[in-house]
Amino acid sequence: MDSLSLPRLRWIAPVLLCAAVLVAGCDDEELLPPETEAPLFERYAALGNSITAGFQSGGISASTQQESYAALLAASMDTEFNQPLLNDPGCPPPIVDALTGERAANVDCALRTTPLPPVIHNVAVPGAQVIDLLTNLDSNSSANTLTTFILGGRTQLEAAADVQPTFATVWIGNNDVLGAALSGNTDLITAAGDFETRYRQAMDSLATPDLEGALLIGVANPTLIPHLSPGAAYAQAQPTIQALLDGSDTGGQFVVADNCAAGGATSLVPYGYGFGTLLAQAQNGLSVQLDCLNDPPVLTPEETATVVGAVQQFNAIIQAEAQERGWAYLDPNPVLQEQQDQVPVFPDLENQPAIFGPFFSLDGVHPNGAAHVLVANAAVDAINAQYGTDLPPIATTQ
């Protein structure tokens, strides 16, 4: 072996130095997703019923779901928000003609869109009452076809747990009184004791260590919705209703009893009864009469007072629950009442696209996209006030 010169070694040191640097590897923080500006809203779950789910005009589809105040709120939070979107035309398809009840398509229910999201952030189910947050199988539960389509057999709380939410909104309880208002049967109102027990149990379950904040929204007063019209308004509109029948070969008589204009003037007649049941019978040649004091579906002043009383009682429970937990609370009724002058006392039959005014969809019960913006902005205000956050408002043009 010949003599070996040290210069051969000169390149070794730099190479080994480079190797030492390289072996430190790449633990790159940039590989992680950017942190949410407000960690409070890192993971948001919305629980509720038809309003939160985005149900409008007696139906629900991807387009109505995306108008939900919850989706708008998530956009303001700049947080991920996957919804259990339902293919067009919907499940069921929304109504496109309030008078005939015609829907966007003649199908019962379209399927969920695919691909499925890893988790859904809007777990609200149309028809849900407070008890439905906890169980789908209790005899008092309102679980329905959409419960499976949205939750796949889980409860809302179970589905929300998948999100591991840092923030939640809960707008539930509307259906604990709505059924009474729409049917005139106050026996359908959930007993206050049951309401309180179930609501507290649900909030206990929701309040996991991950949850940093929440907004509880009170029960909307169903007697304010345009689906309910005063009996006097029916008395005044009787000629208009009769004119609808006179144009038909099979049209019968639609009579409004005197007690609607007099003693029953403040009774509330559900659109589903006046324009649904009675008008349909008249269209089949029968002679029908709306009796504002004796027809069971009509909400008498006493029944209206009972419903309103239940709403106030439920909202006191919800507000107390929010205060106890340090969460935000929003009473939706002032928001609705501010627009009350734009809510027609009787369906605007000449203005079919806005038969129930600018803030309600074609079923007269569920808010439309414009009303969801109002609710979302009220929610933004309530959250900002409670948590000192700076959520931006949602543009009213949305």
């Binding site: 072996m1 010949d2 070996l4 051969r8 070694l9 070794i12 190479v15 080994l16 190797a19 030492a20 390289l22 072996v23 430190a24 590897g25 790449c26 633990d27 790159d28 590989l31 992680l32 997703p33 993971r43 991920e80 259990p84 199908v107 019962d108 229910c109 399927l111 969920r112 695919t114 691909p115 499925l116 999201p117 890893p118 988790v119 859904i120 789908n136 199988l137 539960s141 679980a143 329905n144 076809t145 419960t147 499976t148 389509f149 949205i150 939750l151 796949g152 057999g153 889980r154 589905a159 998948d162 591991q164």
Partner: protein, 471 residues
């Protein structure tokens, strides 16, 4: 009601996609591999101490059977070596969405090697070796680990058995070669996602509301196969201080035959009233699914077969005798992982046949090693190597969450008595963190990086030992 009462679960065509992913991933294999893709380069403690830089002048323990058959010449007599490399790895997956982390739960494994080299004279040697250049495994927690549908407990072994002949053509040039018999086994354990399975023609359970990643079955797939190839090398002693070497290992296609077996995992779902499946309120979904596990049903055990091509390797390198005691070695390695692009899956039921797209990429590695002869009985070694990842960014999964890696090695050889040597080595693997996915692409779509939903980390510690007897 949009569907008739349950009458058609788990349509076979749809289930083909589930099984195809499952078997495809079975063959994909694990992250405990210590070099690119699922290869293992640590087939001898002497070479391991040099970071695998050895092709120009393999260690004198017979490991040249793998690292360069030409390097077996010049050692008359019988050399026997046996050893193993202990592989201890750690890593985790961190979810973007929740920040939740799941740790790899691999137990230490031992990768053996065995070499016998008999030099008839200075010119000619015959040898036989068995080593494991591809394989290893990954084990993730079950429970809620979101990657359990791609595979949570997986293993692969590819043992190469190679008889070898080496011949010194001139004083400076040697060649060597040998055929390879590859004996391989693979196993994959994976859960199946009910949301992707058809409840009726053209309608999946997911479209009825069953959430993504609803486990309903545990699948165990095992396969065994053989393949044939070869390994050839050349060594040139260019000067008294410079050796040059190269080798080529052919790709080897292994045909696997095996069995897939399935057991039910309870979803615990009780169907709500008015559910679209038409079942009564409270009816357990598991009772509906259970029939699919009965004999001759879709989820009954069945034969499966497939093939995988273990990639070719081309290595070239130099050894510089820097001082009488110090040698420096540098290797470059090219591995043809692009052959691992599509896995055809052949089921007993032809309706289930499908393909799994992998799209692996060829890789490059650079190895730098130094060896210092402290005295006649003790040699010290150290090394560094860098290798690229074979998996493209769309295929970083729980089965092989690999990335570019930097390795540091150290080792020593101790000749206890003139004919007995013990070599030990340690290797540290630092893998770059890499984004990856824990779920498969929707049916009919190729996986993309858009599915990546978290960060994989990985580190490894390897300890190698080889005992060599010169008889």
């Amino acid at each position: 009601m949009i569907l008739p009462p349950i009458r058609c679960l788990l349509r076979r065509k749809r289930f083909a996609a589930v099984l195809s992913g499952l078997v495809g991933l079975l063959l994909l294999m694990p992250s405990e591999a210590t070099a690119q893709g699922f290869s293992i380069y640590e087939q001898g403690a002497c070479t391991m101490g040099r970071a695998g830089a050895t092709v120009a002048d393999p260690c004198e323990d017979g490991s040249g059977i793998y690292f360069n058959p030409a390097g077996l010449t010049g050692r008359p007599g019988l050399t026997l070596s046996a050893g193993a490399t202990a592989v201890l790895v750690g890593g985790d997956f961190k979810s973007d969405r929740t920040g939740e982390t799941w740790d790899l739960q691999n137990d230490p494994i031992f990768v053996p090697h065995l070499y016998a080299n008999y030099g008839l004279d200075d010119q000619l040697s015959i040898a036989l070796g068995a080593y494991v250049p591809y394989g290893l495994g990954t084990e993730w927690p079950t429970g809620d680990f979101p990657g359990r549908f791609l595979g949570y407990d997986n293993s692969l072994e590819a043992i190469y058995v190679q008889p070898t002949l080496a011949y010194r053509i001139t004083d400076r040039i040697s060649i060597g070669a040998g055929p390879i018999l590859a004996i391989s086994t693979v196993e994959l354990n994976q859960q199946l996602d009910l949301s992707t399975v058809e409840a009726a023609e053209g309608t999946t359970f997911g479209q009825l509301g069953i959430p993504l990643q609803t486990s309903f079955a545990d699948a165990n797939l095992e396969g065994h196969g053989l393949g044939f190839g070869g390994n050839i090398g050349i060594q040139v002693k260019a000067t008294d201080w410079l050796d040059v070497g190269a080798r080529f290992m052919t790709p080897i296609t292994v045909d696997y035959d095996g069995t897939g077996s399935f057991s039910q995992v309870e979803t615990g779902i009780e169907l709500p009233p008015d559910n679209p499946l038409g079942a009564p309120a409270g009816f357990p979904l598991d009772a509906i699914i259970a029939s699919q596990f009965a004999p001759d049903s879709t989820l009954d055990a069945q034969d499966i077969s497939t093939e995988i091509t273990l990639p070719m390797q081309i290595v070239a390198g130099v050894k510089v005798q820097a001082t009488p005691q110090l040698q420096v070695l540098l290797d470059y390695q090219f591995t043809g992982w692009s052959s691992f692009d599509v896995i055809p899956l052949d089921f007993e039921n032809d309706e289930l046949d499908s393909e799994q797209i992998e799209d692996y990429e060829n890789t490059n590695a650079v190895r730098l090693g130094v060896e210092y002869e402290l005295n006649e009985s003790l040699r010290l070694r150290a090394g560094y190597l860098f290798n690229e990842a074979a998996a493209p960014e769309a295929t970083v999964t729980p089965l092989l969450p690999e990335a570019d890696r930097n390795h540091l090695t150290a080792g020593l050889g101790w000749r206890i008595v003139p004919n007995v040597e013990v070599n030990v080595a340690y290797q540290y693997i630092n893998q770059n963190d890499r984004r990856g996915r824990v779920r498969d692409a929707p049916e009919g779509e190729e996986p993309t990086a858009a599915l990546n939903s978290g960060l994989y980390t990985f580190t490894g510690h390897l300890i190698g030992t080889t005992l060599t007897l010169d008889l």
